[in-house]
Symmetry: C2
Subunit: 154 residues, 2 copies
DNA sequence: AACGATTAAATCGCGTACGATATAAATAGC
DNA sequence: GCTATTTATATCGTACGCGATTTAATCGTT
């Protein structure tokens, strides 16, 4: 079990790759969230955006992108779908017309509140972890992401 | 720092979500891999498929899908791109014409060997982890993925 | 004031993911 | 032996994610 497996036929060469376990866990989270979010008519990335927006009103697209680690090429269409669904408002900043400020509508805010009231508990159950183990793993992964981003930026 | 954060304005509500740290780490891995794989002309998911195929010749699309946790709707186009690039062979099983058996070409096999010779070491560096810590985190994430998949299947 | 450089979003094209459906081959029941 | 069902793969439409480019507004310098 090494990160650089010997190049000989092996049953599951991907098992040794951390990137793959992250990739597979990401797919799996997506599949757990889907049935939980379908009733709200939003996708998993849209849910993450709503949660991020619920933290503070009037964030810019760039600020939201910093939180989600995404850029306007991904966010603009996603946000427009949330706007079309009546969950998010997009308004040009009067001081700087280049900037778009984002906010939750009443519907968006109440959807976020409702979803946050039950979805996370379901997801926690699905992980099979207790809160302490989850927090520990979360911290390790946050550190991993940070390390990877400093390298990727070079 | 709980999985169900109180619904009050907070700077980074996503920080408490394990799903988000997995999501963000997945994005970050993708960005670390891109410049490493660009010289080979393959994407990150294509790399994972090649590594999985390097484990055993003659796997079916379904078998590859079990390893990668993907289905034919995703894999068929991906595999066809690898075939068009001359890295993978697709042949209908003579015993059962429904089945497509996959193999690496000489070029695909040698690309996999070359890439596995240097890419994983670069990625390991980017994680900032030593092999033991990486293996431990990998095992935790593999278990997490497994738990999530058993729930998602219901 | 004017103009080149920078910045924030948006747009475009391509490659995943995935639900839903289609196609074709094998199997099961009768 | 024939039809109904099941199974393996493929196709299609939608939504990300991202490199590259575009558009429009602001800033910096003169």
């Amino acid at each position: 079990m090494t990160q650089t497996p010997a190049f000989t036929p092996m049953d599951e060469p991907l098992d040794a790759f951390l990137c793959f376990s992250v990739y597979a866990a990401g797919l799996a989270f997506n599949r757990v969230y889907k049935p939980l979010l379908d009733p709200y008519g939003i996708t998993y990335p849209q849910y993450l955006a709503l949660v991020a927006l619920s933290g503070k009103q009037g964030q810019t697209v760039s600020e939201l992108g910093e939180r989600l680690h995404l850029e306007s090429n991904t966010l603009t269409p996603l946000i427009k779908r949330l706007e079309a669904a009546g969950l998010v408002t997009r308004t040009r900043d009067k001081q700087d017309e280049r900037v778009v400020r984002l906010g939750l509508t009443q519907a968006g805010s109440s959807l976020a509140k409702t979803a946050l009231g039950c979805v996370p508990a379901e997801v926690l159950k699905a992980t099979g972890l207790n809160r302490a183990a989850l927090a520990a793993l979360n911290a390790e992964l946050a550190a991993l992401g940070k390390a990877l981003r400093t390298t990727a930026a070079r």
